[in-house]
């Protein structure tokens, strides 16, 4: 199990195209990947490979999140997804 925290900085948040890119990226890894928002106590973990679960979280700009992975490529998965989030999905 490997986890890392970051904050969504792109204006769209994890909606629309960024959500799609995020899920598509998560799916390239074998590990089980989850996202949890940190601004609500006891928030549920959402399967990062489920577009619907990710959308249903309503993760908007400035939401702190934790990305976790469990499996053979857990570290690579988390690092890659954090990098994607920090890149602001190409938004300015």
């Amino acid at each position: 199990m490997y986890s890392k925290q970051t904050v969504l900085r792109n204006l769209t948040g994890l909606h629309a195209r960024p959500a799609s890119e995020f899920v598509a990226c998560a799916k390239t890894f074998e590990s089980k990947v989850t996202v949890k928002r940190l601004d609500i106590p006891d928030a549920a973990e959402a399967n990062a490979k489920s577009i619907i679960k990710i959308l249903a979280q309503g993760l908007s700009v400035n939401t702190p999140i934790e990305i976790s992975a469990d499996g053979p490529d857990e570290e690579a998965a988390v690092e890659k997804l954090v990098e994607l989030v920090d890149s602001k999905f190409g938004e300015d």
């Binding site: 629309a16 899920v23 799916k27 489920s50 577009i51 619907i52 679960k53 959308l55 249903a56 309503g58």
Partner: protein
């Protein structure tokens, strides 16, 4: 000729043949299979997914070149199709619970759709429609039925359907779809939004349209008035052919007025408001100064149970968040014996429009009323809002309504729950008895808004639901303008805001008279905004006042309309020759 009525959500006129579009109807029942078939049943599901993806890929490919925006809808559908959690849960229901694949698909997709609908962001909630769309696609494939769509039609048609889904509208053959009629849907439904963006005339909410209307029959669609004319006579066809030409010419000129600041020709400002009946985003918010009527009935009509305080609070907040900063007038529940709610039967009445309805019903059921008032007041902490009571006939009604508000305010204060302490509370004026004492009503209210539809009904003693007597329903009669003038005068004298949120405010001809009688706040459906702005821009304040004086002395509604049309035509002619002269 037979005339059906509905809600005109996208303006226009169409003359074409009926095309009844019966989309696949999922008829799924809870059912299970015998042990031992797990693998085969699961394969049915995965096979269906594969076929669905193939269909979607074909659509995406065909759309990518010309309409990449539309292609995106289907790319999103492929994403949903490949959703890991959805697939896992369906698999689990099939292999562990031995649920039939169609039942499992229906159950899981519906669950996820509901999950999305709960999202605070309206854009995410709207994605639920896509999920249902994908569900229907998979269910249809499981049933072995072919794909039916509106993408290639042979002739010009008016599409008649129960409802249209995103996949139906995205591939719509716009060259051949001249009009849309559906059995369900309001002004902010998916179909309405698409129809307006494509500029396809649409009349929605026409009950049993798919059963009454027959394929290939000629039909005339008047999506200005919300009329669907079956078996039209030759004269009707000629009349509407001329109207269509006129309409298209007019639209071109009017569109330019949509985002203009509303001014009359002499430079005075008037204010345009929007009427809404859902919490969804509406393009109209951009072009208005306020929301003059937020109907709350949908919350009660669409729910399976009496909407709770928290549900209403969430809905009102969502509406305020979507309203783009426009101040909103929330109208408390306006139903009566003519409407049924799934969870509550109201006694049938001989005359529901004269019965225990709206505020009367609310005062009769204090718990229901207080729940709504609490939710509204709590929401008032999150945006500019005011509360309005419908069906007020006497000062007693006003006092009883106000007392209920005060009671709820005291409760909230005691509980330390924030709300807007200075919230305005006002009334709808739609019963002649309160119109006649508008001076007294103005003293006990913060504002008033005139519901001209009901006021016409009660002033003229015409049941507006009875199609036999529509010609008796005269909202532009001299009598109406006399009583309206009285209301505006008294409220203006008292320095209290007065608006019109009935249909009359959105009728350009009537709007001239209303302005002349002293009205400055006109609240209407989005489709009328540009028209009212344009027509009023032709008249100076003095001219409207003269016209209003004259109208009140005319004898019949026909005289009024002919006179107003002539006044508009005169000015349009002048404006036209002025532009020609400039060139």
């Amino acid at each position: 000729m037979r005339i059906l009525k509905g809600n005109p959500v996208s303006r226009g006129i169409a003359l074409a043949k009926v095309y009844v579009y019966k989309a696949f109807k999922a008829d799924v029942h809870e059912s299970y299979f015998e042990a031992g078939q797990e693998a085969a049943r699961y394969k049915q599901f995965t096979d269906a997914l594969a076929v669905a993806e193939e269909e979607l890929n074909t659509i995406v490919t065909s759309l990518s070149a010309d309409s990449p925006e539309k292609a995106k809808i289907f790319t999103a559908h492929i994403e949903i199709l490949n959703d890991e959690e959805v697939a896992e849960e369906v698999k689990d229901m099939i292999t562990s619970s031995r649920a039939m694949p169609d039942y499992a698909v229906d159950f899981v997709f519906s669950e996820f759709a509901m999950l999305l609908e709960k999202a605070k962001d309206p854009l995410i909630a709207a994605r639920a429609a896509d999920l249902r769309d994908v569900r229907n696609r998979v269910l249809r494939i499981l049933k072995g039925e072919k794909e039916q769509n509106l993408s290639s039609l042979r002739e010009k048609v008016v599409v008649v359907a129960h409802d249209l889904l995103p996949s139906d509208t995205a591939t719509l053959d716009r060259a051949h779809v001249m009009g849309i009629v559906t059995e369900v849907g309001g002004a902010t439904s998916h179909t309405a939004i698409i129809a307006r963006s494509y500029k396809i005339p649409a009349v929605l909410g026409v009950p049993s349209a798919t059963e009454i209307m027959k394929n290939g029959e000629p039909v005339v669609l008047d999506a200005l008035k919300g009329l669907v004319m079956l078996e039209p006579e030759r004269e009707t066809i000629h009349e509407y052919e001329a109207k269509l030409v006129q309409f298209l010419e007019d639209e071109k000129q009017t569109a330019e007025y949509l985002d203009r600041i509303p001014l009359v020709a002499s430079g005075e400002r008037f204010y345009v408001g929007l009427n809404i009946g859902t919490t969804e985003p509406d393009e109209g918010f951009k072009y208005v100064d306020f929301v003059g009527l937020f109907r709350t009935e949908f919350l009660y009509m669409e729910s399976e149970h009496m909407p709770t305080e928290d549900e209403q609070f969430a809905a009102y907040r969502k509406m305020l968040a979507n309203a783009m900063g426009n101040p909103v007038t929330l109208r408390t529940l306006d139903i009566g014996g003519d409407k049924t709610l799934r969870y509550m039967t109201l006694p049938k009445e001989e005359n529901p429009f004269l019965g225990n309805r709206a505020l009367r019903l609310c005062l009769d059921m204090p718990e229901l009323f207080k729940t709504q008032l609490r939710a509204a007041l709590r929401a008032s902490a999150f945006g500019e809002m005011q509360i309005m009571f419908p069906m007020v006939g006497t000062i007693d009604d006003i006092r009883a309504g106000n007392a209920a508000v005060e009671e709820v305010k005291a409760e909230l204060r005691a509980e330390g729950i924030p709300f807007d302490e200075k919230i305005n509370v006002g009334i709808m004026i739609e019963i002649p008895s309160i119109a006649m004492i508008a001076d007294l009503a103005a003293k006990e209210t913060d504002f008033a808004s005139v519901g001209t539809n009901d006021l016409t009904q009660y002033l003229h003693a015409v049941d507006r639901m009875n199609p036999k007597i529509t010609n008796y329903y005269q909202s532009s009669s001299p009598a109406m303008f006399r009583i309206l003038g009285r209301i505006f005068k008294e409220y203006n004298k008292a320095g209290k805001p007065v608006s019109v949120c009935g249909e009359l405010a959105g009728e350009p001809l009537a709007a001239i008279v209303l302005y002349g009688l002293g009205l400055r706040k006109f609240s209407m459906n989005a489709s009328n905004i540009a028209h009212v702005k344009r027509t009023l821009s032709l008249f100076t304040q003095d001219e409207t006042e003269e016209i209003a004086e004259k109208v009140m002395m005319l004898e019949t509604q026909e005289d009024v309309n002919n006179y107003l049309k002539a006044e508009v035509a005169k000015r349009e002619q002048k404006a036209k020759s002025a532009t020609v002269a400039k060139k």
